[in-house]
Amino acid sequence: MLNPISLAFKKAKEEKRPALLTYTVAGDSSKKQSLEILKAISNYADILEVGVPHNTPVADGGQIQTSAYRAIKNGIKMNDIFKIVRDFKESKNSKPVIFMGYYNMIFQYGENNFLKKCKKSGVNGLIVVDLPWPENKIFLKKCKKNSINFIQLLSPTTSNKRLKSITKDSHDMIYYISMLSTTGGKLKVSPQKILANYNKIKKISPKKNCVIGFGITEKTISNFKNTDGLVVGSQICKEITRSLSNRQNPVINVSKMVSKLRKKIS
């Protein structure tokens, strides 16, 4: 039986389009609202990345930082985040969930406890921004044992040798960082160049589902239709910020945006 993440990719492939992955921060702007956002965008996205907010993020740009600080300021705790996922997973149209965050949150919870709780809440995968290979080898095995996808990251600076080792040590999904940037940076590399790197990864590791993230927005997304999956994060976080400052409902606005994103790659 395919795990839910792989299944989501399979479905998208059957529809001849890349899978759409969204990133929103748990607890932004409140626990309730972030759950509502997940439920709403679930109609259009295939996999939902749920950001675990951290206050010393070393790879996030301004948009995601703003969302994360907002969530932390509103008092979000790790256990609340698990609860948001559990509630979401109990809703009728739920999709696979991937946590994206920094290792200290896992370390403080205790790796084993964290994974147990992930399993119980319905978290299907983990992206740990600051736990690279080979440092992640032990944790990776624990994830596998708990049937949780550990998603390895690859970047333009990853050497070919590293690329081979990392993809070998990855589960069903890998994540290619499109360019040298924090999240939310403007696409400063041509789509052709990004796709060339993407194809290189696919050649080395054809069976893994490889998604592209960083710099993917409404404007750029249609350049990448022939890929396994695409992640949009900062633009969504920005939309939440914009909605809040205009006193509009972020749930409606974000949902509209994700629906548009989906149309652009369908």
């Binding site: 600080y69 690279p132 990251l153």
Partner: protein, 414 residues
């Protein structure tokens, strides 16, 4: 956990960069793996390269001005009436603090690797000032990340950076202090690591930065060892080395050459920033038993809540106002080689008053923390005990704070 003899502490980490199996490491985004590996290869090669060492020594001597003075504080010794009190006046170094050693070495490395831009973080502004000086000296463009709160309270150093042609980039996120400046600097490096070199301002960050910084500041103890022998004919039987500890770069450098001595002969005392006496906030993770966590790429004792969010610190001294601490110091603490304690804001100010009253020496607020503890403890020691305080920064940068807290007469001499 054991400290090995005969091997430099910076080289005692394991394959993944962990000291004692659990401090340090490389908790970094994938993008930074390559530039970090490149820097490791470069540094490991150059630190044993005779030409490079000659080049380093040339700049240390002719430009930084080594050795810095080692002086006896006669009046203070008399006033306290216990151990003899000495100071290593590291603030003699070009720029006025120990941060110049690390900045110079990073610029030399950047130059050799063909990088055109160097970036760095700063708290008290010294790391930034020195990096801007070195960058100017070696023809590199320079960007300094500094918390908006620190920009306000350390204006003299900000002005110096700008004068040296550096871009000072204010950081408004989080607590707007050093911790946020380091995060922002690392983020900038993530986005520009192909063209830009990064200098981490203390013995913190991913393992290679801890090593380079510790290697650079060790100049302090190399000089001190020679000066002790010149002064006493040998390394005295009872030495106490007091140093403030924020990230831990000056203290590590002050101690490194004495690592293999028995601690009964050469004792290390690290003084953290205890914050305002009435506040629960502090910047003293070792003294107050903070738990191990990950901050800026390294595992270390760090102030954090139960979830793992890094907690805000509070200290009168911007240079010590950091929630974490070098993995090297975590290692020295757990191997019991060094002893750590804290001084409050008020105690540091008091010590500053005492030192400036009796001596022609103006330690900045950071070393004033170390003076505070040294003065207290020196009373109880015998006359043959040699207490040495690293006066690693000059109070010029603190004039605004000193004037506000103590009145004009304490800054007149500036």
């Amino acid at each position: 956990m054991k400290l090995k003899k005969g091997i430099p502490v910076i080289d005692q980490g394991d394959r993944l960069g962990f000291w004692g199996g659990k401090f340090g490491g490389n908790f970094v985004p994938e993008t930074l793996k390559k530039p970090i590996e490149d820097l490791e290869i470069q540094f490991n090669k150059l630190k044993n390269d005779k030409n490079f060492l000659r080049e380093r020594d040339k700049y240390f001597k002719n430009w930084i001005g080594t050795p810095t003075r080692f002086i006896k504080l006669n009046h203070l010794t008399k006033h306290i009436g216990g151990a003899q009190i000495w100071s290593k006046v590291v603030s003699d170094a070009n720029g006025g603090a120990h941060k110049i050693y690390n900045a110079t070495v990073h610029c030399l490395l950047a130059k050799r690797s063909g990088k055109k831009v160097i970036i760095g973080d700063t708290g008290a502004g010294y790391a930034g000032k020195m990096l801007s000086m070195s960058a100017k000296k070696f023809g590199l463009k320079c960007k300094i990340f500094m918390g908006a709160k620190d920009i306000k309270r350390q204006q003299p150093n900000v002005q110096a950076m700008k004068k040296n042609g550096a871009d000072v980039i204010p950081v408004y996120s989080g607590s707007q202090t050093l911790v946020d400046a380091v995060s922002e600097c690392m983020r900038y490096w993530v986005a520009n690591c192909d063209t830009t070199a990064m200098c981490v301002g203390s013995t913190v960050g991913p393992a290679i930065f801890v090593r380079i910084c510790g290697w650079s500041t060790s100049q302090i103890s190399r000089e001190l060892k020679v000066q002790l022998i010149n002064e006493f004919g040998e390394i005295p039987k009872k030495i106490k080395l007091y140093n403030c500890v924020g990230g831990g770069s000056s203290s590590f450098g002050f101690w490194n050459e004495f690592m293999d001595y028995d601690k009964k002969q050469v004792e290390f005392i690290g003084v953290e920033a205890g914050g305002p006496a009435k506040s629960k906030r502090h910047a003293a993770p070792l003294t107050y038993g903070s738990k191990i966590g990950i901050l800026h790429g390294a595992a270390q004792y760090v102030n954090q809540n139960s979830d793992g969010q890094i907690e805000e610190t509070e200290s009168i001294s911007a240079g010590l106002d950091y929630p974490g601490i070098s993995p090297l110091h975590c290692f020295l603490k757990d191997t019991k080689r060094a002893r750590y304690t804290a001084a409050s804001d008020e105690e540091a100010l008091k010590a500053y008053q005492i030192v400036t009253k009796y001596e022609n020496l103006r330690p900045s607020l950071e070393p004033s923390h170390a003076f505070s503890v040294a003065i207290k403890e020196a009373k109880k020691f015998s006359k043959d005990t040699v207490v040495i305080i690293n006066s690693c920064g000059d109070a010029y940068k603190d004039r605004g704070i000193l004037e506000k807290k103590l009145g004009k007469k304490y800054v007149k001499s500036n």
